[in-house]
């Protein structure tokens, strides 16, 4: 490895004409870390990755890799390997030639290239396909070829732009686990762009959550899940995401549809708030909040209930066998520590 792979983004702004794709992005990635850029489409995560790769230039701000300013360094001089969403394999070259290409460009001796190509292909289990052209490979095999091409040169940074999005569901799960193992065994810094929060949660050591051109929260997946910074993140992370209900805060309690719930959060006086609670944090209990079951989505081991609670729509996850019928009225509650409070105007956590 030619470097440590430490990344620092300082106030990066990217304008497309009048439109701000990135509005001042700051983050640090530690060497060897698996860092995810998570966000919905158009939130700026891919733009961030392209600026890091050197494929696009930022309008303002600085990019540092290993404490060296690379803002105006060309992509070819940054020592970065990348797996594209489309894989971007060279269609006229065989798998072996594709994997060998970055080494040939680095003018490595032929013998060294051959052994490195075999080694990389073996790591991603495509060493039996070296003579094929990309057009003769399945989607999963193409993806592996792209991975091999990226790991073969042992770059200091490893970028992945939604690498699993073109795979079918089963293959995606398998590859996800392999990707994590691969990154650990190589010990390389990886930056991973995805819109799939499950991927980010399972793969990343830390993640940055993007919303409309800004990072709203940086933290470990557990931190972001447990303490979302804003209403937007709360509504984005988790499957199904957090219930967000307008309510009134009075002396340590919140009042939802006339029902009082205790919270552990304290804030001054009496005010309007947005209350958040995860579907899995709801329990059925006597004397709780009354709700009618509108719809049941049975997922096998768990079920998600759509509840109508005096006109407010709430989703609840039930994992024991005790699933009520559609149209039944049940009574629900949640523990005080599972209640998150947000400011309805600033949309930030209280």
């Amino acid at each position: 490895m030619s470097g440590q792979g430490q990344v620092s983004f300082r106030n990066i702004v990217k304008m497309h004409g009048e439109f701000a794709a990135l509005k001042g992005v700051n983050f640090e990635i530690k060497p060897g870390e698996f860092f995810a850029l998570l966000g919905p489409s158009g939130s700026g995560k891919s733009t961030t990755l392209r600026i890091l790769a050197g494929l696009d230039a930022p309008t303002a701000g600085r990019v540092l890799i290993d404490d060296k300013d690379v803002t105006s360094t060309d992509a070819r001089d940054r020592d970065i390997a990348m797996v594209f969403q489309s894989y971007a394999l060279y269609p006229h070259m065989t798998v072996a030639e594709n994997i060998a290409f970055p080494l040939e460009m680095a003018r490595l001796p032929k013998a060294e290239i051959a052994s490195a190509v075999h080694e990389a292909a073996r790591k991603v289990k495509i060493d039996h396909l070296l003579d094929r052209k990309p057009g003769q490979l399945s989607g999963g095999q193409q993806q592996r070829c792209a991975l091999a091409r990226a790991i073969v040169r042992k770059a200091r940074l490893f970028l992945l732009d939604e690498p699993l999005s073109n795979l079918d569901a089963k293959l995606r799960l398998e590859t996800r686990a392999e990707l994590k193992k691969l990154q650990r065994s190589l010990g390389v810094t990886a930056v991973y762009v995805t819109h799939d929060q499950e991927e980010a949660m399972t793969l990343a050591d830390r993640m940055a959550v993007f919303m409309s051109g800004e990072i709203q929260q940086i933290g470990t997946p557990a931190e972001v899940f447990a303490r979302p910074n804003s209403i937007d993140i709360a509504g984005f992370i988790g499957n199904p995401p957090m219930n967000l209900v307008p309510a009134r805060y009075v002396d340590g309690d919140v009042i939802i549809a006339g029902h009082r719930l205790k919270t552990t959060t304290t804030t001054a006086g009496e005010r309007d708030v947005v209350v958040g609670f995860r579907p899995g944090a709801l329990r059925m209990t006597e004397g709780g909040l009354g709700a009618r079951v509108d719809l049941i989505e049975d997922l096998g081991d768990t079920a998600v209930l759509d509840l109508d609670c005096a006109g407010i729509m709430i989703r609840m996850r039930v994992s024991d066998g005790n699933i009520p019928g559609e149209g039944e009225t049940i009574s629900i509650t949640t523990r005080p520590q599972d209640i998150h409070l947000f400011d309805p105007t600033t949309r930030m956590r209280l």
Partner: protein
């Protein structure tokens, strides 16, 4: 006819489906043949028949200046042709002319396409302007070049040569310059064709593999050599094949500019055949020359098509 329809309908209700299908297919074939016939006959009359007649003529001595010597001579015309120095010279001129103009068309066309593909504005205008020479008649192109461009003292090219300090040249009177001129004229007219085909081909190449190549540390030249060129190969080979066939049979532009002169400096095989047949009125020998050109064209295109399939 009416009876047939009734019977076939009657059979269809009882006979297996395949029978009915066969009858339908037969009718379909007959209808298709009827539609095809006019075009097929026209083609036979205008291309196949003249071609066969040409080969037939080449086996005769048919001299309009000396009709008393006319008669069947078999392969004699071809024997004469093989020892005819002027034939070999004109064949060489044809090959030089074709080879240089096709190479120039591809190189200049590709260079222009690479330049234009990166143009953010005015690409549409460039295409429209570039296509203009192609739509002109080769005879008109020849006239324009002979008078407007290459005329001594007044022609634009000569004017530029004088101003560049090269002095006035006899562009169409000097054997070498005449050859260069006719190659330049053909290249000028047909480069836009190569340009358009290669530009379209370039535009269809995916952007992301170039980004991948940049990250793989390929320089601009390496990206061109290792990615652009191999991916454009099918288009380039196609352009070479099409332009070679046209260049081998070029006629009108050279005829209007130099008429094969000075002497036989720009006399391609096509022009030699024309001169033999219609200037010297030796129709039989002219036909043999034309057949020779046909054979050369078939051999060269055969080689090119084999190259195309090779990889």
């Amino acid at each position: 006819m009416a009876t047939t329809v009734v019977t076939s309908a009657g059979i269809a209700s009882e006979a297996p489906r395949s029978d009915f299908g066969r009858i339908l297919a037969q009718r379909e074939r007959r209808f298709a043949a009827a539609l095809l016939a006019p075009a097929f006959l026209a083609l036979l009359a205008t291309t196949t028949f003249p071609l066969l007649f040409l080969v037939y003529t080449s086996a005769f001595r048919m001299d309009l200046a000396m009709p008393f010597t006319n008669g069947f001579v078999g392969f004699e015309n071809y024997q004469v042709l093989l020892s005819d120095e002027r034939f070999w010279t004109s064949l060489l001129v044809s090959l030089v002319y074709t080879g240089s103009t096709v190479a120039l068309q591809v190189i200049i066309g590709l260079a222009l396409a690479l330049l234009v593909i990166d143009m953010k504005r005015g690409q549409g205008w460039f295409r429209v302007i570039a296509i203009l020479p192609v739509v002109l008649s080769p005879a008109v192109v020849g006239m324009i070049w002979r008078t407007f461009m290459l005329a001594p003292e007044f022609g634009i090219v000569d004017f530029l040569a004088i101003n560049a300090g090269l002095g006035s040249k006899n562009w169409l009177g000097d054997p070498t310059l005449a050859m260069v001129s006719v190659i330049a004229i053909h290249t000028w007219q047909w480069t836009p064709f190569a340009f358009m085909v290669l530009l379209a081909s370039l535009a269809s190449l995916p952007e992301d593999i170039y980004e991948a190549a940049r990250l793989d540390r390929a320089s601009a030249w390496q990206r061109f050599r290792r990615i652009t060129l191999p991916l454009l190969r099918p288009a380039i080979v196609m352009v070479v094949i099409m332009r070679t066939m046209v260049a081998l049979t070029a006629f009108a532009a050279i005829f209007t500019v130099t008429a094969g002169g000075p002497g036989t400096a720009t006399e391609i095989l096509n022009l030699y055949a024309y001169r033999k047949s219609f200037t010297e009125l030796s129709i039989g020998y002219g036909a043999a020359l034309a057949v020779a050109l046909l054979i050369v064209t078939i051999i060269i295109s055969g080689i090119l098509f084999a190259l195309r399939r090779a990889k």
